[in-house]
């Protein structure tokens, strides 16, 4: 069992897909302007990644190595499409909120990265935990970045807003926070923080 625990826990911190493996940066920049969508995106990636990991891990012995990336892509795309159709049929409101992210999930490099690096070599159960761990590790980073960006950029968190008296006394929202470059800088700071706390992440030059 300790093995499963390791597989699940390390991606949350030490081997975080965004901060340590530097995967999924593009979507991390795109969806972190607000906290709500960031959480939705994090959870949808987690669900799809866990599912895709299991499917690929079950198929791994039959997949011809020359077209394995194509096979992985087809599986992910099919899963994402089916999930999105089911959402549209049964919880339409949620699917409207998610519509932006569905497309981003397919192109998310964390999926391809984990399928290729983990699911192709490990059994279904381990792959499931790996998908869950990496998805949540991704979600944590999204939440951290989105928290900073929404608070400083829009002056709000979900439905909470910075009280009026702050603005009356000269406080201003930083519009730069809403733009993608600031997301990259914040992400850089998060990685910097993580690496300074965990020296084992630093490369030896």
């Amino acid at each position: 069992m300790s093995n499963i625990k390791d597989i699940f826990v390390t991606p949350l911190g030490l081997n975080n897909p965004v901060a340590a493996q530097v995967l999924g940066i593009c979507s991390a920049l795109a969806v972190t302007a607000k906290l709500g969508p960031a959480i939705i995106m994090g959870l949808s990636v987690t669900a799809i990644l866990a599912l895709a990991n299991v499917v690929i891990s079950l198929m791994k012995n039959t997949i011809p190595s020359r077209i394995r990336i194509v096979v992985q892509l087809v599986v992910v795309a099919a899963l994402v499409t089916i999930v999105s159709l089911i959402l549209k049929a049964f919880v339409y409101d949620v699917s409207v909120q998610l519509s932006v992210y569905i497309g981003l999930i397919i192109t998310n490099c964390i999926l391809m990265g984990r399928l290729e690096a983990f699911a192709m070599q490990n059994n279904a159960l381990d792959s499931f935990w790996d998908g869950l761990g990496n998805g949540l590790g991704y979600a944590i980073i999204l939440v951290i970045v989105a928290f900073i960006r929404e608070l400083l950029g829009s002056g709000s968190l979900f439905d909470w807003h910075i009280p009026e008296f702050a603005y009356e006394n000269g406080y201003l929202n930083n519009g730069l926070m809403l733009l993608a470059p600031m997301a990259l800088i914040i992400l850089g700071c998060v990685i910097w923080f993580l690496r300074s706390k965990k020296p084992e992440l630093q490369e030896k030059n």
């Binding site: 969508p37 190595s65 499409t81 089916i82 159709l85 089911i86 549209k88 049964f90 932006v100 950029g153």
Partner: protein, 285 residues
Amino acid sequence: MNTNSNGYTIAYASILVTIVAALLAIVYSALNDRIEDNVKLDTKKQILSALNIKDDENAADIFEKNVKHYVMAEDGSLKEYDGKFITVFSKDTNVHVFECNVNDTIKYVLPVNGAGLWGPIWGYVALKNDKNTVDGIYLGHEGETPGLGAEIANEKFTEKFIGKKVFGEGSDDILLGVEKNGKVSLPNHQVDGISGGTITSKGVDAMLKDGLSKFKAFLTKSNVSAESASSAVNVTPAITSAPAAADSSVSAEGKGQDGYGDFSEVEKRVDMVDSIHSEVKKLAK
């Protein structure tokens, strides 16, 4: 079995693709009816939301009772529409107008669509009885950037449109639109754009101008007949208001045919500019 041989690879790919395609087809056909119903209901909710009716529970009933679906004929008159209910993006050459009876006042909802930064955007513009004042607006998008372009769907943005006029005073130019934040020059018609969402804001602007121009025949119909019911059809509305005349020489030229006064105004200005030029030249010497 050798999983690296050409034959195996080709067979594997073909079978995989067939299975996936069949799976998708089955799921799609099983769920399609439900999805279409959801889309229709959602469209009705959007139309009602443009009319500031936000009762999600009974949206279908309220819509049935209060909204009449018309198509616009070329001369601007409305004809009853009894075909399939359509959404903004249905391929349909008819120009659809929804006439709504809200608390005994007639309002019109006009569907428009356009392009944002990443994908399509659409809107439902509700106009008051005068076919000029915006009563409410619903803006939708498929995939604009959250926190930036996606803010067009936010009520904080859409409520800014309430009370704006579609047409310039005494003209049939559609002025309703979105202008870059802080650059609004026609506060009766323009709304502040979203900073960081410039391309989406421009998309909304273009969508309103293009989209509403399709309804011009309908929108100007009663206006013209109210002003001069007996006169000929091709009377273009005269430019009488001072701000329009003082606008710029370009607009004066564009409307020169029905605004002779404007030309003399322009000529005066040209003379003035010439004299200033010569003054400057003298000073330079």
